[in-house]
Amino acid sequence: MAKKKMLLMKGNEALAEAAIQAGCRFYAGYPITPQNEIPEYLSKRMPEAKGVFIQAESEIASINMVYGASAAGVRAMTSSSGPGISLKQETISFLAGAELPAVIINIQRGGPGLGNITASQADYFQAVKGGGHGDYKCIVFSPFNVQEMWDLTMRAFDKADAYRMPVIILGDGVVGQMMEPFHPTKYVRPGLPEKDWILDGCRGREPRVIRTLFVGSGELEKQNILLQKKYVLIRKKEVMFDAYDIEDAELVVVAFGIAARIALSAVKELRRKGKKVGLFRPVTLFPFPEKQIADIADRKKRFIVVEMNAGQMVEDVRLAVNGKADVLFYGRPGGAVFNPEELYRKIKAAYPRVAGTAG
């Protein structure tokens, strides 16, 4: 059997190259650590791909450039980290309201404020619960290795176009900065509806309008109901997750992104020691795999959620579990990164003393 071709790249660079492969031809960004490899890579690579790279004068300018490029019909992306993503929120709300596709990368760092530049998962609420003003959602992907930085970036562009909405890749300083081998899956463009809404000059056709201002009586409510219908569809169709050793598990660890990667080492070690522990990893944070978690809870499992924050996704897990099982939490805020031994101890401590009595 032919050996799979592998590449060795930093997560941020893999993401940037995947964007090019997926047909992204417009990138606007602004410096902030730990995502600088993305604009640096694209400043070289975009001209080769006959695309556009712009370093803007601020994060606000860069996401508004994406707004413009997207309205013109091109696959467009911007990237940043914590403070910069906060600045972009206004326009993320505009993108959602105007139903414009865009891919927004957040390589999370510690917060609040300037925080620090180590990996963090404290922007979960900001990404998943809206972040900007108004009733809107973004599809949120959570990569946990460099392979997923590649694969999910490609998927992000497709989903952004399919649903005409902003899609967020919620990475972190570790997956962004680390190098590891991955298989550069070839991009295959799925069947997507024609972009019959773009503003590309109305000679020979009716003028089109892209807007977020709906001031006529009842107009905005109608638009909002349409948006909500879209989110219902996404909840039904776009959930992605991974489960490891769930079937016979007495204790299920729930973690996303890099926390799941670290937890996986701890779970494997506990399995070796004979503990029935499994790991459930949401890959999409919106839509959240609430049904899958509810199903596990029906089988009377105990959960422990581990996150590199003070407890954010745990709220969604508790909503999904709806009181049917115990949901414990272990988290470290402020850009502190777990090590596998630490999670081994915490997960072991949460393990039910008598098997079968959990819940």
């Binding site: 602004y30 410096p31 902030i32 650590t33 600088n36 604009p39 640096e40 400043s43 070289k44 001209p47 080769e48 790279f53 370093q55 004068e57 601020s58 994060e59 403070p83 404020g113 300037l114």
Partner: protein
Amino acid sequence: MATGLTLKELSKKEDRFTHGHRMCAGCGAPTIVKMVLLATDYPVIAANATGCLEVSSCISEYTAWKIPWIHTAFENAAATISGVETMYRSLKKQGKIDKDVKFIAFGGDGGTYDIGLQSLSGAMERGHDMLYVCYDNGAYMNTGIQRSSATPLGADTTTCPAGDIIPGKLRVRKNLTKIMAAHNIPYAAQASPSHWMDLMKKVRKAHEFIGPKFMNILSPCNRGWRSQTNDAITLSRLGVNSCYWPLYEIEDGVTKITYTPKDKIPVADFMKPQGRFKHLFAPANEWLLKKVQEEVDKEWEKLKKQAECGC
């Protein structure tokens, strides 16, 4: 009484920006901050934009600042100091404070020319009694040498990389000193750490005006300029002597050149020791090197005319 601006006198003054900070060896910024604070004989409150200076001078639990110092997000140093200064004026009016305090904001070129321009312009227009000091090293050095609107024509940075497609940055620098002067503020000036007496005199002069003042100071960065760590002062002097970085001030709209080099040297002399311009010395990029010289000459002539006509 003001301290004399002699090395002997200054050496007796307390440093209000101390050693122990984590700025790189050979960085121009801490030298500039020291000079600015040494020249200031008043109590000072400083605001700092995000950047090398802020990050490296306040590593958790330590501070290199022996003055009240405040930092907020990248784009807000001028807005933050506006708030502090306004509250100070209010307290003074209420009779709750009687000291004469000076307000200084420090920012790098990224936080000043680019993302901070809106808040800086607002502060200048509102007329706060403050001095904004930009230490201009010509790129986002803190995040890994990305281009800014202060990056000089032809320079290689990580987001305008010199190669087959482009020979480094294709645009000329934004002339921020003049943009600030165009706010009709009482004082705007350009200085360089190589000419320390000139720099400190300008700081003193700035403090004597009531209202917004702006100083743009050339700040060599050996990491981004790809130069030697002992070259900061030499390079800033070459910058001045080539008229790449002319020393001048605009006082109530009247331009005065404060230092005219005896022999104006070619700008290539300033660029040659810097790796960021290395590619411009390749035969294929000769045209661009010529263009850089033309731009410097053009700006210098303009400035001279401005000074001659007293406008």
